[in-house]
């Protein structure tokens, strides 16, 4: 197994406030890694560090290294467009654009220079099939994406990410706004996607982490307390704080 993402002594500051402290972990290719921990412990911040979405927040500074395929994404000559094309992101709140379903999917490919109608049509069908949404929307591709249910919107957003053909997909609590049935469908989708993509998912639902992930990292106050195979972390945690957290004693 090769490592897709390598993080070494990574620190992040919001102004003077340090949100990530000396993070180090390696994420394997085509595996699902879950990030768990109480809210405010830096999970989202870490996730957004991988595709450098934190760059847009004024006052953020970082030290250390995050490598994807052996290249530090924080190096000077890193092209942000290329990075984000390679590392897709799904947000907590489903955020389809107020455009048609078709235009949502083709938004990314068009930005990256694909203009041929047939090619775009193919991408739309392929990604919607991949996201288990095709059957539900194939007859109304031109209607507004805002008319979809929350669960459908989240799968649409995943299809939109797949359309830019990333290697890595980051998901920040993608199921927290969904009902149980939509959540289950989303988890099925994640399990299916890990054959082709390296996935990092933030969740505060421990059962979810246990169900979908191969590896789990436990965050606390901006630090990684424990990082190991999911089965191991949930059955025999090494650190007492991990144990306290997964047994529901805080958070």
């Amino acid at each position: 197994m090769s490592d897709k993402i390598k993080v070494e002594s990574f620190n992040l500051f919001y102004g003077d406030n340090q949100a990530l402290k000396d993070i180090g972990l390696n994420l394997e290719e085509k595996k699902v890694t879950a990030l768990i921990g109480p809210s405010g412990c830096g999970k989202s911040t870490f996730l957004r560090s991988i595709n450098r979405m934190n760059d847009m927040i004024p006052g953020v500074s970082t030290t250390g290294i995050i490598e994807i395929d052996g290249k530090n994404v924080y190096r000077e000559e890193q092209d942000l467009v290329q990075l984000r094309k390679n590392v897709g992101m799904v947000f907590q709140q489903p955020n389809p654009f107020p455009l048609s379903i078709y235009d949502n999917i083709t938004y990314g490919p068009r930005i990256h220079g694909i203009t041929k109608r047939e090619e775009l049509d193919m991408i739309v069908e392929r990604t919607l099939v991949q996201a288990n949404l095709w059957d539900e929307v194939k007859d109304r591709l031109q209607s507004s994406a805002l008319g979809l249910s929350g669960g459908q919107q989240q799968r649409l957003v995943i299809a939109r990410v797949l359309a830019i053909q990333p290697d890595v997909i980051l998901m920040d609590e993608p199921a927290s706004a969904l009902d149980p049935i939509s959540t289950e469908r989303l988890e099925d989708l994640i399990t299916q996607l890990k054959n082709d993509y390296t996935i990092v998912i933030v969740t505060h639902n421990m059962q979810q982490a246990a169900r979908v992930s191969d590896m789990t990292a436990f965050f606390l106050n901006g630090e990684i307390i424990e990082y190991s195979m999911t089965s191991q972390l949930f059955t025999s945690p090494k650190d007492s704080r991990t144990e306290d957290y997964i047994s529901g004693r805080f958070g």
Binding site: M53, V81, F91, Q93, N95, F97, L99, Y107, G108, R160
Partner: protein, 312 residues
Amino acid sequence: MEQLVTNQVAEQKRPLSEDLKKPLPKILQAERRGRVLTYVSSWVLLLILFSLLIFITSKGAAPFISGEVSFAEFFSTKWNPGENSYGALSFILGSLIVSVCAAIVSAPLGIGAAIFMTEIAPKWGRKILQPATEILVGIPSVVYGFVGLTVVVPFIREQFGGLGFGLLAGVIVLSIMILPTIVSISVDTLQSIPRHLREGSYALGATRWQTISRLLLRTSLPGLMTGVVLGMARAFGEALAVQMVIGNSPNLPFNLLTPISTLTSIITLNMGNTVQGSTYNSILWSMALILLLMTLLFVVLIRWITKRREQS
């Protein structure tokens, strides 16, 4: 902040819990008083509006009903009140063209400034440009007209020849006047686009310019259009500043440098010189009626745009 204020109020008076326990009648009375007050205000408003509508309509329709002037005459370009010719078409077109041109000039400038203020330099924009637009809104129109008269008109005269007064001068003055309207409405619209949509776009690898042109402008189009139409309505109804620079000759507005007239400029210039009840005076009312109808049209247009936005 708000909480603080309510807390202070609560401390000065008795706590609300006490109030709620016993003196129900008192609260009911306040409720009733409030309801009566709002009812009365809205009825007064409606009454004023309807009397205005009826007044202007009856005054404006009078010359046609009495047969003094025919519709065909009114919608012709022959304007010579001394010889009983009352064709207002030049002024109707003048008003329309000057405001449409002002909107065409002002829309890209205003929307561009709004994008700069919200997307490119939000800090600087909010600190300097926003107060600046608010000041621009507050400047009285006579000042705009005066500046137009002393700066714009001579400038046109020197650059392009002619008198300087005319359509072009009107367009320039009006486009500056309506700029703040377009800017502030565009800013509101752009700011109301939720942050997570922008993030979604950036996370797909879009650049700032792509996010602006492909996502933000597209999703905020109805709001931006509302701003432009409101600006146009303001230009259409503006009288003083226009009258100071437009030249006030009854010409058709098909040349940027010719002095023309608008409905508003004709009304303001002549209402004091005509005799109540004369045909000339009544025709001015007919023009006011046209202005009113056009304003109604603008309102309907804006409602239609916002309704479509809510549907999509």
